[in-house]
């Protein structure tokens, strides 16, 4: 039990997927201009990441390893994730329309979010068991959400400030992300 708590803390704060592992940065910069879109993206990632983690873990354990096909991992995982996203989209549209409209355009975008494929690959590389995999996937996704929402809050304020011309938009966003990354860096050595 204690191990799992350590895993949660290290995945959310210390090994934060966006700010320490550099995964999923395209949506991080793309969807953080408004708080509303940031929250939508964060929710979509939590939802898909946990599902994708479970499915790719099962695929690896029960299909790729027994048939000695691990060299096809990249192709298999990306196909599974793409199909999963499509399926989730259809399912939500049919049965939970409120959530579907909430997530909107962010669901299809998740297919090419490297955080999802990245976490699935980390799960395999670290050889987590099922429970650990579940906890790790959720914690990484929560860390993604936390960083994204914090960043969106800062960025909304920056819009009101006068930034030097060459720094406008993405450049100042990256520098801000660096500062945010520095604060997360302070958690290092905690566990």
């Amino acid at each position: 039990m204690g191990d799992l708590v350590v895993l949660v803390i290290s995945c959310i704060l210390i090994k934060n997927i966006l700010l320490a592992q550099y995964l999923g940065n395209c949506p991080f910069l793309g969807t953080s201009k408004k708080m509303e879109t940031a929250v939508g993206m964060a929710m979509a990632v939590v939802f898909v990441l946990v599902l994708a983690g479970i499915i790719t873990w099962v695929v690896e354990r029960f299909v790729l390893i027994p048939f000695d096909l691990t060299y096809l991992r990249t192709i298999a995982f990306i196909l599974v994730i793409a199909a999963l996203v499509q399926f989730v989209e259809m399912f939500l549209k049919k049965s939970i329309p409120a959530l579907y409209t909430g997530l909107g355009i962010f669901l299809p975008l998740i297919t090419t979010n490297c955080a999802v494929l990245g976490v699935c690959l980390i799960n395999i590389k670290e050889e987590y068991n099922f429970l650990e995999m579940l906890v790790v996937s959720f914690s990484y996704a929560a860390g993604f959400g936390l960083a994204l929402v914090l960043f969106a809050g800062v960025r909304e304020r920056i819009l009101l400030a006068r930034t030097p011309q060459p720094f406008q938009d993405t450049a100042i966003g990256l520098v801000t992300a660096g500062m945010l990354s520095l604060t997360f860096f302070a958690f290092k050595g905690w566990v």
């Binding site: 320490a20 550099y22 995964l23 940065n25 192709i75 406008q168 450049a171 990256l174």
Partner: protein
């Protein structure tokens, strides 16, 4: 279609240089630019995948139905990424270990899908090859420049063929900050701003 073949090639080098102008493919840009060698190695791997996936997608563009095109593009890209992964494991094992999960993650690098969708699916094979080559070389240059900047400031050395070459005397105090995560974001931000200033003076 007024662009000449040379223009298709050179636009990737400056006018539309991928990580700066298009702000695509940031994750590997930030993650592997901690040493010069890693940055350039990643750039070459991406160039390889980009050129071959552009060629194949352009050749198949009339056969692939519009509805499933994204899925088809991803499979083509994933195939070439697997090829690169196996080649690197066989011939450049040290680099393979250094880059780690960022090699399979080339699949979800937005540059590849972006070029497939925006260019290769609409243009002929020769143009697509040149586009892929130009974009790939531009990406390699950008990664190499960022990586050299970070490594020189962060460790006072630059790596060629696995051997770090010290550039400064022993009194040099490295800014370790630069090779760590926060430094990556800030460096890229500063380079982007520098590009904006340069671009403005030109036009």
């Amino acid at each position: 279609m007024a662009k000449s073949l040379t223009q298709e090639f050179t636009k990737g080098l400056w006018a539309e240089i991928p990580p700066f102008r298009l702000v695509l493919g940031l994750c590997p840009t930030l993650a592997v630019s901690n040493t010069f060698e890693n940055g350039v190695g990643m750039g070459i791997a991406v160039t390889f995948v980009l050129v071959f996936s552009n060629i194949l997608i352009s050749a198949l563009r009339k056969i692939i139905p519009a509805k499933v095109r994204i899925a088809a593009f991803i499979i083509v890209i994933a195939t070439f990424v697997t090829v690169v992964e196996l080649l690197m494991q066989a011939y450049t094992y040290a680099l393979f270990l250094q880059l780690g999960i960022f090699i399979p993650l080339i699949v979800v690098n937005c540059i590849l899908l972006g070029r497939a969708e925006a260019f290769a699916s609409k243009n002929g094979i020769i143009r697509s090859t040149l586009d892929g080559l130009g974009m790939g070389i531009g990406y390699t240059l950008a990664l190499g420049a960022l990586a050299a900047f970070r490594q020189i400031l962060g460790t006072g050395a630059i790596t060629f063929y696995q051997t770090p070459i010290q550039l400064f005397g022993p009194s040099f105090e490295p800014f370790t900050f630069m090779v760590q995560a926060p430094g990556a974001f800030i460096c890229l931000g500063l380079m982007l701003a520098a590009m904006n200033i340069l671009g403005k003076n030109r036009s």
